[in-house]
Structures are given as structure tokens and as C-alpha cells.
């Protein structure tokens, strides 16, 4: 029969040789192997202190973007909720009142917008579906562990990006080509 890989090994049940029956040579061989491992470099990453670098295409915690004038981009069209395979997004739409033009970009906006991070599979389909470039999955943040389930339902207070541009996510519309390259170079350096 043709061997599939060249690693096939003939097994037979011949009686053990004296050296094998004495166990000691095999034991010392085993001990030397484990001793080598004792001094090897450990691949462990001590998580909260050390962090593994995220991939540049990492999909983490969602953010609801504002536009250049600081207005919320989301128009509560519901396309993200429809696209979501995990049914993690729920929202309530509302109409923009007079005088709120500085707050919301479109006439319709999301009064409430919730993502259940326990349901979400971080597939990014909501990001793809959004016609207003409002929802993004950040490359540098993830949903941290919490004690209670309801704390995983992120409302607008935790999703909408802060007004100050310094705090804006690096992902998506803010990340220029140059920045992306820098990030990639940094990560390649860390991974190498």
C-alpha cells in the first residue's frame, strides 16, 4: 500500500530489551526533555499587564460615529439590525425636533440604540450595512469582562463617540492611510 505521508511506523509487539525493561534510560531521556523545557522561554502573555497586539483588521467594540461637526451620523434606518446575524442590535427611532440640528445629522435619529455584546459575534456586518458610515467596530478596544449580564447591553451612552476628537476611535474614517501603515508596521514589529 502506498503510504500517504512518510511518517507511517511499523508497530510490533516484540519483547522489551533489557535497557527498556530497566526503565532508567527512558526515564533519564524524559527528564532531560522536561529539563530543557524548564529553561525555555515561556510564551505566556500575562494579560492585564501585557497585551497581545491586535491585528489591524481586528473587530472589537462598536462605536457610533459623529460627523465632522460633532453630530450623530446614525439615522435609525435599522439596516444594521436587519443585517445582524445574531440579532444583537435594537433601536428606537425618533424625529429630530427644531433646534436639534446640531445634535443629529439627519431628520430621523436613534432615540435609543442598544447592542447586546453577549449576542454579538463581532462579524462586522452592521458596519458593512450602514449607509451613513455611523457604526464601526474599533480595532483597538474590546468588550471587557463584567459581573452582570445587563452590563453587556451597551446603550447610546457607551456607544456614541465622545465629542472631543482626541477620544475618537482610530478605526474607520479617522484612520488615514499613513496611520494605518504605521499601525501595521508597529504590529509587525511586535509580532516579529
Amino acid at each position: 500500500m502506498q503510504p500517504l505521508s512518510n511518517r507511517a511506523k511499523q508497530v510490533d509487539k516484540k519483547p522489551m530489551t533489557l535497557a527498556e525493561r530497566a526503565y532508567l534510560p527512558a526515564i533519564f531521556q524524559g527528564l532531560s526533555i522536561t529539563m530543557r523545557h524548564f529553561f525555555m522561554k515561556k510564551p505566556t502573555i500575562r494579560y492585564p499587564e501585557e497585551q497581545r497586539p491586535f491585528s489591524p483588521v481586528f473587530r472589537g467594540l462598536h462605536v457610533l460615529k459623529r460627523d465632522e461637526q460633532g453630530r450623530e451620523r446614525c439615522t435609525a434606518c435599522g439596516l444594521c439590525a436587519v443585517a445582524c446575524p445574531a440579532e444583537a442590535i435594537t433601536m428606537v427611532a425618533g424625529e429630530r425636533k427644531k433646534g436639534e440640528e446640531g445634535l443629529y445629522r439627519e431628520e430621523k435619529y436613534a432615540v435609543s440604540y442598544e447592542i447586546n455584546m453577549l449576542r454579538c459575534i463581532f462579524c462586522g456586518l452592521c458596519e458593512e450595512a450602514c449607509p451613513k458610515a455611523a457604526v464601526y467596530l474599533q480595532a483597538d478596544k474590546m468588550a471587557p469582562p463584567r459581573f452582570e449580564r445587563d452590563e453587556f447591553i451597551y446603550g447610546k451612552n457607551r456607544l456614541v463617540e465622545p465629542v472631543s476628537p482626541d477620544n475618537r476611535s482610530k478605526r474607520g474614517i479617522q484612520l488615514t492611510e499613513e496611520q494605518a501603515q504605521q499601525l501595521r508596521a508597529k504590529m509587525d514589529a511586535q509580532l516579529a
Partner: protein, 360 residues
């Protein structure tokens, strides 16, 4: 022979040895995890305190606050008595081990040893053999077939390996001619003469003793009494809370005692090479008094003895995380058909070498 130390000093030493055995056993649990982790390319516990050094404390808190569980149908009195006995016997055997030579202050001599008896070796063996009763009683009282199987295994394993262990010891006794552990230690280094450690005279005996020590302390590759893959937890399946803690602890105390006994019997105990040269050099070149130099040697010897003990403890753990467990029939075959004949052969060999004057 120097004059007997005062009773007060003796009780202090016993108390210190007792506390030390417990402390070392506590930190053995930590060392075991770290060593296991390192041998498996991990880093081990490092959350509690710096380098995870408070981990044993955290474990103790956990053990003490766990639910105290009694299985229905268990014999409550024996169920409690089992782990206590295991712990008591484990601790008792450390009393006769000479942890150091003698400290000299004026005309007072202080031995760094709990009790000096001329049957020290028999004491250790007797007490260690009692230890299996702790396991037997615990396994029997649990009213659980896995526990009972574990207990039976422990008993038969200990009996089988005690024979080979005792006989490998006889060869040592033939050389030393005494059962006192202090005497055996002192014989391994006599001032003015070049005396070797017993390991040089008894290499085969040492290997037999080492293997038997693994079996007696129920460590891998002979940990069939608590064989998790077949017997859930073996003899301590039904145990919880600090009663389980006592069983686990007594195992580490046993390892400590076994390591100490091996260091004393085969590795010169508190002796170290060139100790007398060092003493004479201190006295003649550095203007030390003889007593002062002797005390320094004693302290150094004690430190080094602990170094040897820790080396053995490390070896125990190293082996545990390297070797798989023996099958039960392999274990019995190894004990009865290999180790016992080998130890008899070792006795004959030693006798022959002594009668031809090659070793003494």
C-alpha cells in the same frame, strides 16, 4: 558522645522542625505548581502577591472556607480520624532527623536535632509505615468504592515497596553499624580522614531507595492510590475542606521527610566537602576560636542540608511532571520481581565488598 541537651532546647527544636515542615509543605504546593508550569512552558501562579508567593495563603483560606462535607453512610469518627492520622504520622517522622551538627556556647552544647535516639532509622520507618493507616482509614470510612480501591492500592503498594526499601537500607546499616541517624551522618565525614558520602559506596542501594521513596510517598509514577483517571480522586474522593487539605499536605510533608532521610543516609546529611579544612583555616589564619568556627560550620551544614533536601524535593516534582503513571500490574511486578531481588543482591554485594575490605 557529648552531654545531652536540656529538655527545653529539645522542645524548641521540635517546635521549629514542626513549623518548618509545615511551612515547607505549604510552599511545596506553590513550588509544585510553578515547577509543573515551567516544565510545561507556562509560568504558573503569579497573581497572589509578588510572583504569586501568597498563593499558599490563598489556598489555605479557600480550604478552610469550603463546605465541610460528610457522605451519608460514612463512619464520621473514622472519617475525621483518617486525615488527622496521615498528618500526625507525617510530622512525627521529622523529629529524629539531624538537621545540623552541634552548636557550642561556652560549656553548653545544642544539638540541631529533635530527639537523638539510637534507633532513629527504625523510628522513621515505623512511623512512615503507620502513615498508610491514615489513607486506609480515610478510604474505608468514606463508604465509597473508589476510595476503598485507592486505599487498598495504597496499602498493598506500601507493603510491597517497604520490603525493598528496608533491604536497601540494610546495606547501609552493614556499612555504618548503627541505626542512629546522627551517627550515620557523622560517619560520612570524619575529621582527618577522607570519608565518602554513602552514595559512593551504595549507588545501587540509593537507586532502589529512591524508587521506593517515590512509591512510599504515593508520587507519580506510583500515585495509583489517587489515580485520577481511574478512581476519581482515589482515597480522598469524598473529602472536602481542610480534611482534604490535610491529606494533600501530609503528602508534601512525607516528601520533605523522605528527601531529608535520603540526604542524611546517602548524601552526607549536614556534612559538606572540605568542612574541616575550612575550620582549620579559620582557626589558624583568621584568629577564630575553635567553637566559633565549629558553629559556623554547623550553620553552613544545616543550610546545605536544606539545599540537598530542596534538591530532592525538586527532583520529586520534576519526575512527577515527566513520567506517566505505571499500570498496577507493572507496579507490582517492578516491586516484587525487580526491586526486591536487586536489593538482596545489593546486600550480598555489600557484604562481599566489606569482607574483602574494599569498603568499610
Amino acid at each position: 558522645m557529648l552531654e545531652l541537651p536540656a529538655l527545653g532546647w529539645q522542645s524548641i527544636v521540635i517546635f521549629v522542625v514542626f513549623a518548618l515542615s509545615l511551612l515547607i509543605a505549604t510552599y511545596c504546593t506553590y513550588a509544585e505548581r510553578v515547577i509543573a508550569a515551567f516544565l510545561q512552558d507556562r509560568v504558573g501562579p503569579d497573581r497572589a502577591g509578588p510572583y504569586g508567593l501568597l498563593q499558599p495563603l490563598a489556598d489555605a483560606v479557600k480550604m478552610f472556607t469550603k463546605e465541610e462535607f460528610f457522605p451519608s453512610g460514612a463512619n464520621t469518627a473514622l472519617f475525621i480520624f483518617g486525615p488527622c492520622l496521615a498528618m500526625i504520622t507525617a510530622l512525627m517522622s521529622s523529629a529524629v532527623i539531624p538537621f545540623g551538627n552541634v552548636l557550642e556556647f561556652g560549656s553548653n552544647y545544642f544539638f540541631l536535632q529533635g530527639i537523638e535516639v539510637n534507633i532513629g532509622m527504625l523510628w522513621v520507618f515505623g512511623v512512615v509505615s503507620l502513615g498508610v493507616y491514615g489513607i486506609m482509614i480515610g478510604g474505608w470510612a468514606s463508604n465509597n468504592k473508589f476510595s476503598l480501591l485507592g486505599a487498598i492500592r495504597a496499602a498493598s503498594q506500601n507493603i510491597s515497596y517497604e520490603l525493598a526499601m528496608g533491604m536497601s537500607l540494610i546495606a547501609v546499616l552493614m556499612i555504618s553499624g548503627t541505626l542512629s541517624l546522627r551517627e550515620i551522618t557523622l560517619q560520612q565525614s570524619v575529621a582527618g580522614e577522607w570519608h565518602f558520602w554513602n552514595i559512593v559506596k551504595q549507588p545501587l542501594g540509593f537507586i532502589i531507595f529512591l524508587v521506593c521513596a517515590f512509591a512510599e510517598t504515593n508520587r507519580t509514577p506510583f500515585d495509583l492510590p489517587e489515580c485520577e483517571t481511574e478512581l476519581v480522586g482515589g482515597y480522598h474522593t469524598e473529602y472536602s475542606s481542610m480534611k482534604l487539605g490535610l491529606y494533600l499536605f501530609s503528602e508534601y510533608v512525607n516528601i520533605f521527610v523522605a528527601s531529608a532521610v535520603m540526604s542524611v543516609l546517602y548524601f552526607g546529611g549536614f556534612n559538606f566537602p572540605f568542612q574541616y579544612e575550612l575550620r582549620d583555616w579559620l582557626v589558624s589564619n583568621q584568629d577564630w576560636t575553635l567553637a566559633g568556627a565549629q558553629n559556623l560550620i554547623t550553620i553552613l551544614g544545616t543550610v546545605l542540608l536544606f539545599g540537598k533536601i530542596f534538591g530532592f524535593i525538586f527532583f520529586f516534582m520534576w519526575v512527577r511532571w515527566t513520567l506517566p503513571r505505571f499500570r498496577y500490574d507493572q507496579l507490582m511486578r517492578l516491586g516484587w520481581t525487580i526491586l526486591i531481588p536487586l536489593s538482596i543482591f545489593n546486600i550480598l554485594l555489600t557484604g562481599g565488598l566489606i569482607s574483602f575490605g574494599i569498603i568499610q
